[in-house]
Symmetry: C3
Subunit: 247 residues, 3 copies
């Protein structure tokens, strides 16, 4: 059983954070909200999304799992204007999701959850450095790195208490340094890892520019990026595997 | 003889309603205004446009016919900003149209009207249902149908007094229901016909979102869509042939 | 030695005026400001740009010359928002330009100036007519001509004291006439020359729409277009060779 009403904006924001990594996913319709975990086909980027029941206008579910094509669900949600409400109702028999937006009814065929790539276990890493940063600064770093390279290094200089982002191209280099006073918070620790810029560009699309993002970083370790959605009633954690530094 | 001055906006709106169906057309320069009738090359969609002399700042004509390339005439009208006036004058001898927009003079070569596809006779149908609807609701229906199919059904449920639009795709379906209270007016009658979405998408481009549209609908019959232009001093009627329902 | 701070907007405007013609150029880092002269590969269009030291927040230079890839330098300047400052510093040893924008440091590899196309001598022509015109009128003329042809004639009718722009296509013609009262100033003299529209379209991109442009025009002679940048603290002169009229 699943029946819920949610603002189009909240639904879109939640789905976007997953669709930057995968095309299809399982949605867990838990009693206390809905949850998605997914990993991209190359096993490099993972996402863990939860949207609490309180983020919905109304929410009833009893723990089922459905499989959805994300771009189709996003297109439907895109039919609503920001203020409009989207009503979702699962038809258990036909395995279809009925979606209503002010007189418009869309019947979405679901996907067999068993045919969807298995959900990842997101490891509990103990990473030495934590940076709390504005979303717009991540955007700036990613765009600057993109001008010179397809890799990006994130690091912390413990002694100087600063977070840096750097990228080295064939001819040009880019470096962005943010000292403690330009960050929301910093727990300095020795940390530096290299990442594929493509993935970070995709994740950056879903990061709210005016929100805060918590980055957990280590020495040649995966990075975790965490931020909230729907005024704190939803949360997204991305994990991105590092690239091996080649010199 | 033809000499007229018209606001760029009025001219553009009038031409756009025809150019969504055909590239070239005949313009009848009648004494009381100008008129265009045209049918698309596949004989599926027709348009009947009139623009009264009162929609012009000044208008003098004596009943001639000219042939024009619509996209070129639209590009010229597009050079003017919304508030500007466009002055049109026919040179009978050279068969060219002189178009002036504040110091800019464009000389447009006309097309021999005999080389243009013959104008259609728009049949006088007696259709059982009439729906008066806001342009933006047609837009919404067309966009929703476009997500799942390339056909769209328009219909009226006589007993429930509602107008509906539905589209069935390979996996997903869409249905928009508008009861009498969400319409401007409804004369309910048994009616349902299936149409090619491509044509309706083209016609929708020319339908003013904030204007009202009168739809005449029957049972597997052509649909008529009628709306006004230029604050009521112009009018457009589209007619679209139905597709045969294949099951 | 070169070290300067300049608003992102001023830097971008100056670079744009050169990059419409060439991809790479030499920048002369003179004591009193920086200067660029360049000619396009076909020797048809030339640009002469100066940006006075007073256009910068701070400026120190001793007469060196650097070679730069313009699109890369423009992309970097594009990372700054309009109000932000860009700090430029030449590292003489590594031949790299360090560019800083609020915590972001970009290291740009320079190009050997000797590998860049030689700078043109811009001839001192004594042209019989001078037109001072608003940038937006050039924009209008170029867009109108582009609808019918890939050539554009600029001319002055001495007796009528008017400046005209005309273009003749295979079927349609365009003519824009601006009498003295619609110009900022006019020194009438016999003048008419034909130009390639592609070049004038490129130059038009860099011409400020709300600024004034001085046009020096002759009889089958090159045209000079002159305008100011950075509130008068910079200046651009374009010179464009005429096309031979073929009839």
């Amino acid at each position: 059983m699943f029946k819920a009403i949610v603002s189009a904006e909240t639904l879109r924001t939640a789905l976007d954070s997953v669709s930057v990594l995968v095309d299809e996913c399982k949605i867990h319709l838990n009693e206390d909200g809905f949850a998605i975990r997914a990993v991209d086909p190359a096993n490099v980027g993972m996402v863990d999304l939860t949207l609490d029941a309180s983020a919905f206008e109304s929410y009833e579910a009893d723990g089922g799992v459905i499989g959805v094509n994300l771009s189709r669900l996003e297109n439907i949600a895109g039919m609503a204007s920001s203020g409009q409400l989207v009503q979702l109702e699962l038809d258990e028999e036909t395995r279809k999701l009925h979606i209503q937006i002010e007189g418009l009814e869309y019947t979405l065929a679901l996907i067999d959850p068993d045919s969807i790539r298995q959900e990842p276990d997101i490891p509990n890493l103990d990473l030495p450095a934590q940076i709390v940063i504005e979303g717009r600064d991540i955007d700036r770093a990613v765009k600057a790195a993109d001008m010179v390279s397809d890799h990006i290094a994130l690091g912390v200089e413990e002694a100087d208490e600063l977070f840096y982002v750097s990228a080295e191209g064939d001819t040009d280099d880019v470096r962005l340094e943010l000292p403690r006073e330009d960050l929301i918070d910093l727990s300095a620790g020795q940390a530096r890892s290299l990442f594929s810029l493509d993935y970070l560009k995709d994740m950056n699309k879903a990061i709210p520019k005016d929100g805060e993002v918590t980055i957990d970083l280590g020495e040649e370790f995966p990075v975790k990026l965490h931020f909230e959605l729907a005024e704190g009633q939803g949360s997204v954690t991305y994990m991105l595997a590092p690239r091996i530094q080649s010199d």
